[in-house]
Amino acid sequence: MKIAIASGKGGTGKTSLAVALLHANAERARLLDCDVEEPNCHLFLSHTVIGHKAVELLIPQVNPNLCKLCGKCVEACQFNAIAIAGNQVMIFNELCHSCGGCARICPHGAIQEFPVKIGELSQSRCKNEAELLTGTLEIGHASAPAVIKAAKKALPLQDVPFTLIDSPPGTACTFVAAVEDSDFVFLVTEATPFGLNDLKLAVEALLNMELPFAIIVNRIQSETNLITDYANQQGFPIWLQIPEDRHIAETYARGGNLLDVKPELKKVLRELLDRCQP
């Protein structure tokens, strides 16, 4: 079962929660860090890297000796990645989605596709035996969703019932790529007006995708807050509220995790996964 841990914005403690969930469920879960533009779960997990794998996309290149400047490839590209200017075909790699359409349509066989590395997967075993898989996007490439999809398709180190997916913040295409086809989503938020605003956007996106979710509120000052008000009013479930605690922040700063400060959360974090099962 795939469980995505997502958040409408950065800095809500989403990664800390993902890491704590892995610690609490070490023998039955693996963690995919799909925040590929800034993966950081590995900073909070002592681990040994077992292997790397490049994520590649096929990017077309035009052979100017064969090209007759007919313009068919420009028309064929749905992503507006090609233009003909002067006497050359220009392909904008950063807009190319590697659909292969231009190479197929070219009547003169002038377009060939070459693999270009756009990111990397690295697979690790943590000290607690659980697997951590980190997806990293090469700087300057726009195809983050491709790296996320590759991370989700990677073969697990060992078969475990739960795959946790630390998703990129926000609600853009990277968020969609990370949460889509998961069985359940935890939405992590903070009890602040900004937190609420971004939560609403994330909820809307999940409702559109028809994904079941529960809300987790981090750093609360009080059991009733603007997130609980919103959730009660809308009938959305809140499964966990974590109080604001200076020790937690200090522990993170030292590379520790939530369970070091609050070992009593272990039971709750195990139940969270059990509750996701239909």
Partner: protein
């Protein structure tokens, strides 16, 4: 010589549309015949990406030798530069006035892209 203007309107009194990638059409003025044609660019209004590139392609296809618009992003700039089409920038003024300014040589030529993508 032909020169393209980004616009929402359909006449010489119409205002310049300062958006390049997402302008609905181009008015292409022909100095030889003192007449103009309108070229549709509306497919780009919906484009999720690459609108500037396709607008640039549309301008190239009109045979225009210069473009007058408000702003231009880096990718469109690269395409137009490769095609040897200079870009002039102006405020949202009636196209008739801008044709005058072009002839007088008072329009400002863009030397590099002046906005980030997504225009």
């Amino acid at each position: 010589m032909k020169i393209a203007f980004s616009t929402e309107g359909e006449s010489l009194e119409s205002l310049l549309d300062t958006r390049f990638g997402r302008c609905p059409r181009f008015l292409v003025w022909n100095f030889e015949t003192n007449s103009f044609t309108l070229v549709d660019n509306s497919q780009n209004l919906q484009a999720t990406q690459g609108a500037g590139i396709q607008s640039a392609q549309n301008v190239i296809n009109t045979g225009a030798e210069a473009l007058v618009t408000g702003h231009c992003g880096p990718k469109a700039f690269k395409v137009l530069q490769a095609a040897g089409i200079p870009i002039y920038v102006a405020e949202s003024l009636p196209i008739r006035e801008l044709i005058d300014s072009f002839e007088k040589g008072t329009l400002l030529q863009l030397k590099e892209a002046d906005v980030e993508g997504h225009w």
